[in-house]
Each structure stands twice: as C-alpha cells, then as structure tokens.
C-alpha cells in the first residue's frame, strides 16, 4: 500500500504543468468565459490538448489513448483542475466514443473516432425523454426501418449544448413487443438531417444549456446503427458506470474548496475575516473531510481499474458522494457571498465570485438528478453491493 509519487510520476507532473502553462493561456481563458466565443474556444482547447496526445487518456492506445497509470490520471486531473482549465466535453470523448470503439464496426471507428479526438464534430447525448426521467428504458422515440434507412420520430430532452451539436447519439426504440429494455437501438444522427428541431430550455440558472430535440420523420442511414439492432440498451448500460465516475469531480471540488477558503479570508463579518468564524470553519471542514475521503475512494477505484477490473457498482458511491460534495460547496460559496449571492443582472453591481455562486448553485442542482438520479444510484448499491431485494 503506497501512494507516494515515483520519480517518473514527478517528471510527468512537471510535463503536465508546463503544458498547461503554455496551452491554457489568458487569451483562451477570456474566450472560454465569453458566451459569444465559448464554442470555438472549447473546440480550440480540445485541439491543443489533442495535439499533445492527451485528449482521451482513457481510450485504448490503438485509438489514441494514453495508457496512463492510475497515478498519472490522478496527477493530470489534479493539475488540470488546479490550473482552472476546463475538462474536455464528455459527450464525444467519454460517452459516445467508448460505445463506438467497443461495439462499433471498423468503418464507424475510422469515420468517427479521429474527428471526436480533434473535436471536429460536436456531440450531444439523446438518452432522456420527456416523461422518462430516471426510468431511461421506458423511452418512446421510435426508429422504423425503411429500406437502407431508419425513420426516427419522437423527442429527447435535457440535451446539453444541442444548440451547438453536429451529431447526436440516441437510444431509440426499434421493437416494442418485449420487455422495455429489449428493442432499443443505438443510433448516430447527423444534426443537420431534415426534421430535427432544437427547442431551448432556460434553466433555473437563467442560462440556455439544455434543450429539447424533436425528431419528425428524420431519415438515418442504417450505417449509423451501432452493433446489432435492438441491443442498444446493453451498449449504453455498459458505459454508464464510466459516466458516473466522471461525475464525481474530485479534482474540481478540491479547487473550488481552496477558492472558497481564500474568498472567506477576504470577506469580513463584524470586521473579522469570515474564514475565522467557527461555524464557517465547521461547514468548510465538514465538506473538506468528506472530500479528502472521496479522493482516496476514487484512487481506490482507479487503482482497481488499473489492475484490469471494470468500474462496478462502487462507481455509484463516487457519483452520490461527489455530487453531494459539489452541492455542499455551492451552498457554502453562496453563504459566503451573503447579500451579493442573489444578484441576477448583466451589470457588475455585486462581485464576480458571488455571480458565480448563484449560477453554479442553480446549475448544480441537476447533478443529483442526471446520470441516473442519486436515488437510482442508491437502489443500485442496495441491490448489487448489499444484495438487498
């Protein structure tokens, strides 16, 4: 049992730091923060990382993965978060790509994977449907065979960044005769296909991130079907655990916690820094201790994965605790911001950290609902870890 860094690990850390210093420059930072330039800046950022060969560390080496050790992954995530550099968007790299390289055919791999790596295509995810929620398998969007194509009709919802997307990967119903998990297929759909309509959804953070995507007689070539027809549920499910692990966001929470501590050192109450207020300290360290634990819980899962084991139901623990910690941090930042936390205006009347407090808090409410709600995660642990029926 040992978590000390080897000389190679330390050298790798230096390499990561040097890369981030150069690639994540002030100009890019500014463009990422601006709504008008966000999309192209995010794409450029991924291309810079991809040029370094680090866009998809978790992929198999043959498709462009890094074959990093668990320690290297840990180092990379920590350095990236500490630098404040954004994660790659997960929809292409972490969600659809593993399905393509695991279950897709050679043509699909050659066609899509390099473009995903280089962010040539912007992907979005079409799983949830109006009314389906955590009961994903009850989806109703149907795809009917018509010659060499499928004709898709229905609607997907909660689709992040669909307004930017070139492609959407969808679960669609190709057979309604059996139980609901059967008869689902995994389709890749070009967003430019006629019949697709994107309706924006304004969130409680007052931003436009989410969308509803309607499909009206959308024609999709059979070549865009992953694996076998009616087996899509199996493919999607196999990768859901990956998504959960990613949601934990330990490194990002560490950065956020340090930032809050620093802000509280400047914020005064009764002339004294809030950081020395005993209740603030209690609230902060309650979270910090859980986060210190979760960091090692994640390392334990990573170490297990590095030794060849697939992430199992324990990834549900990462998701639950990770999102609870994120929300607790969001609440704490909001509390620190005091009066300023409620300001919702375009002009700069409050302060930057407080504006972020409100937006993050509101946007963050969804974390315990998406990726399989935390209640569903608890059901998974109860059933598959504790053996309760």
């Amino acid at each position: 049992m040992d978590t000390t860094f080897s000389a190679e690990d330390l050298a790798f850390r230096d390499e990561v730091r040097a890369f981030l210093t150069e690639a994540y420059d002030d100009d890019l930072k500014a463009r990422l923060a601006d709504k008008a330039t966000y999309k192209e800046a995010q794409i450029e950022w991924q291309r810079r990382v991809n040029a370094k060969g680090w866009a998809a560390p978790g992929w198999p080496a043959e498709y462009g993965g890094c074959s990093w050790s668990a320690t290297q992954s840990f180092i990379y995530e920590n350095e990236r978060s500490a630098a404040g550099a954004p994660d790659m968007l997960p929809f292409g790299l972490k969600m659809v790509a593993p399905v393509i390289y695991t279950f897709g055919n050679d043509e699909q791999k050659q066609r899509f994977l390099p473009r995903i790596l280089n962010s040539d295509d912007w992907w979005c995810q079409g799983y949830s449907e109006p009314g389906a929620g955590s009961d994903l398998a009850s989806l109703k969007t149907r795809a009917e065979v018509d010659g060499d194509d499928y004709i898709v009709n229905g609607a997907k919802i909660w689709t992040s960044y669909a307004q930017y997307a070139d492609w959407i990967f969808c679960l669609v119903r190709t057979d309604s005769s059996g139980k609901k998990q059967d008869g689902i297929s995994f389709l890749l759909i070009d967003m430019k296909t006629p019949g697709i309509k994107v309706n924006p959804i304004i969130g409680i953070d007052n931003r436009h991130t989410l969308n509803e995507v309607e499909f009206n007689n959308v024609r999709v070539p059979k070549a865009n079907l992953i694996g076998e027809q009616d087996k899509g549920w199996t493919y999607a499910k196999a990768l859901l655990a990956h998504e959960r692990t990613a949601i934990a966001g330990v490194a990002a929470s560490k950065k956020e916690l340090a930032e809050i501590r620093e802000i509280a050192g400047r914020e005064l109450s009764g002339g004294i820094a809030l950081s020395s207020d005993p209740l603030f300290q209690k609230n902060l360290t309650d979270i910090e201790i859980e986060l210190m634990a979760l960091e090692y819980t994640e390392l334990r899962v990573l170490a297990k994965a590095a030794s060849g084991a697939h992430p199992g139901p324990e990834s549900s623990l990462l998701k639950i605790k990770g999102t609870e910690i994120q929300q607790a941090l969001q609440k704490l930042r909001l509390d620190v911001a005091g009066h300023y936390a409620g300001i919702q205006t375009e002009e700069a009347v409050g302060n930057e950290y407080a504006d972020k407090a409100r937006v993050d808090y509101m946007y963050g409410r969804a974390a315990t609902v998406y990726g399989g709600s935390n209640e569903v995660q608890k059901n998974i642990i109860a059933k598959f870890v504790l053996g309760l029926k």
Binding site: G133, I202, I204, L268, L334, G342
Partner: protein
C-alpha cells in the same frame, strides 16, 4: 391559550388568499416580474383599496391598528403567491420606522396607506454583511443639519422608492453600536445616485450612492446616535413577517411536491409510492410544521419580555434558513429535471426562500446571535 384567528383575521386571510388565487397565478406573477418597477402599480392600488397597506399602522395615524398576527397571516398568503409588490419594504420596514419617528415624519404614513408613497430602508453596506452596527456611511454635522456620504447596497425597493430612510454614523467608529443615526432622505435629493438591478427572486433593488447629501435635523428618525435599537426593533418585526412569507412558500412547495409525486410515473408506478421518497416528504412536512410552530411562537412572544422575544425571532430565522433549505432541496430533487427549468414555478419559490434566508442575517449568523443570548 389558543391558536385561532379572530373572525376579522379570517376575513383578511381569505381576502388575500382570494387575490392570490384570482389575480396572481404564476403567469400573472411573471408579467409583474417583467415590469421595470419590479411591481404592478395597479396591484398596489388594489392593496390600498382593500386596506392592506394600513394594517400595521396605529389608528391615530389612520391605520387599521393591526397586530403582529395580522401582518403574519397577510405575509403568509402573499408568500403562497410569490407576490412581488413591496409590502415588506414600504409598509413593514419604511412604515415601521416612520411609526417610530417624530410627528412630522408620521404624517407620511397617510400617503403610505393610500398607496401614493413608496419607501425603502437603506442599511446594508458593501463591507457590513449582516452586522447592523457596521456602518461606514458618514453623517457629518453641517450647520443645522448633516451631510451624508457613503454607499448602501441591495436596498429593497430602493430603485423606485420616493423616500428613503438611511443609516449613517454620527459618532464613533465603524463597528460601534452607539453613534448610528437614521435619516429620512428624499430619493431625488441632490447627491443621491441609484443603480437599480434585479435579484434572483425577481425583486427590484438598488445600490444607492450618497454624495454630500444634505439633510436637516428634522430629518433625523428617532434619537441622535441611538439608531441601532430602532433598526433592530423594526427588523425584528420584519423578520417575523418574512418568516410568515417563508412558511407560506414552504407549505406551497411541500404540497406541490407531494401532488407531483402522486402523478409522476417512473418504472410504471407513481414515484410517490416509493417509500424512500415518502419518508423524505414526511421530513419536508415536519420541517414545515416546525417552522410554523416557531412562527406562532415568535408572534405570540412579541408581547413578552424583550430577551425572550429576541430569542424567539432568531430561532424562527434559523429554522426558516435550515428547514427552508431542506424543503427547497427536496422540491428540486423530487421534481427532477422539470424542477430545474425556469418555466416551472418551483425554482422561483425556492429562490425566494433562499433570498429570505439571507435577508437580515442567514441561518448561521442568526444562530450565533441566538447562542449569545442563551440563558
């Protein structure tokens, strides 16, 4: 001992409830929120006509002579409708201070009651956080009067108020309890600059810059240097009022959530049939009931001895923050994705609850003050 409303109170309650139901559904509320002023002048006129604006004022000032319970039940019903009209700012805070002022100042009460005067109480500052005694705004003696300099932030109704009551330091240093005085200031007086903006609950507020604003000694509200006690007193009343508003909101969120889970189906059954969710909704219910109990307690103790009354108000404020958070969190979580959209009312109720938590000092701040007063 009884917790019943009088017949008159029941009539008032019904009248407010009817207004909310008939004229203030969520769609109507969104329209009000879109207005530049942050409230509807028509609605305000209705409030005046129905006599609501007169409730807390003494009969000798032309008021209804109502007590804390009257204001409480009105605020609870307004809470259920997320009513944006500035009853709290103009009637409870500004009006409450006028009532404690000199005769010359009390004469404005009539205008408040008839709905022709909007007021605001400007006390918070950039550095003050929740400490009423942290006042950097200066009032320097200047002939018969004073010259005010400083900045006030997040002033409720501050963007549209005709008159302001402003806290400023007439002696002592920034954190001293003594040496704070209150001044009645015309919002259009020379040297007053207002920057209006929105809060997440739809309220219109303002930052107010005071640059060499001249006031006379007749504009002094209450005694010189003794403003803190006055502020505390009116804020205590206002805390019970927003406590009542919070209880209205919490009950509404709780009921909405329970109803939603009865109709929303997942895995082939209504999600309200899942025992884990049922038990959490029971926690919501208990949180609402416990908050209501502290509301009644604080209302009943307003006539009791001061120390006990202060503790009761602070206990209510702590519970509003904590129980309100629990209810808001669960309302979001049990509504799932749909709860996180701007078009559903749930998020708006939660945001108002969050703003009430911060108002006058959040749960942690209030709890520490509560502990200091502990017997």
């Amino acid at each position: 001992m009884n917790f019943d409303y009088t017949e008159e109170q029941n009539m008032l309650k019904d009248s407010v409830a009817r207004f909310v139901q008939d004229q203030y559904d969520f769609e109507a509320r969104c329209k009000v929120a879109a207005l530049e002023e942050g409230y509807s002048a028509d609605n305000w006129k209705t409030f005046a006509e129905l006599g609501w604006l007169s409730i807390p004022f003494a009969e000798e000032h032309g008021g209804f002579g109502g007590n804390v319970v009257d204001t409480m039940l009105l605020m609870e019903e307004l809470g259920k409708g997320l009513v944006l009209e500035p009853f709290l700012a103009t009637v409870v805070l500004f009006g409450g201070l006028l009532s404690r002022g000199a005769a010359d100042q009390q004469q404005y009460i009539g205008s408040v009651i008839e709905g022709s005067l909007q007021g605001a109480f400007a006390y918070a500052e950039r550095q003050s956080r929740f400490n009423l005694n942290d006042v950097a705004t200066q009032a320097i003696a200047n002939g018969d009067g004073y010259r005010l300099n400083g900045e006030k932030i997040v002033v409720l109704n501050g963007a549209v108020a005709d008159k302001l009551i402003v806290s400023a330091r007439t002696s002592g240093s920034q954190l001293d309890s003594a040496g704070i005085s209150l001044f009645l200031v015309d919002a259009n007086a020379k040297g007053v600059a207002r920057q209006g903006y929105r809060m997440m609950d739809g309220q219109k507020v303002a930052n107010i810059l005071l640059q060499d604003v001249e006031v006379t000694s007749a504009d002094l509200v209450g005694e010189l240097d003794q403003g803190l006690a006055l502020m505390q007193s009116v804020i205590s009343e206002a805390t019970v009022a927003v406590g009542a508003e919070a209880v209205g909101i919490m009950d509404k969120l709780q009921a909405t959530t329970v109803e939603y889970t009865k109709t929303r189906e997942q895995f082939g059954v209504a999600i309200g049939s899942f025992q884990a969710l049922q038990h959490r909704m029971v926690e919501m219910f208990m949180a609402c009931e416990q908050t209501r109990s502290l509301l009644y307690r604080a209302a009943c103790s307003q006539s009791a001895d001061q120390a006990q009354a202060d503790r009761d108000v602070l206990a209510l404020k702590v519970m509003v923050g904590r129980a309100g958070k629990l209810v808001g969190d669960e309302a979001f979580q049990l509504h799932g994705g749909i709860g996180m959209t701007d078009e559903l009312d749930v998020g708006h109720y939660v945001k108002r609850l969050m703003m009430i938590n911060t108002l006058f000092g959040d749960a942690d701040f209030s709890q520490q003050r509560f502990a200091e007063l502990a017997g």
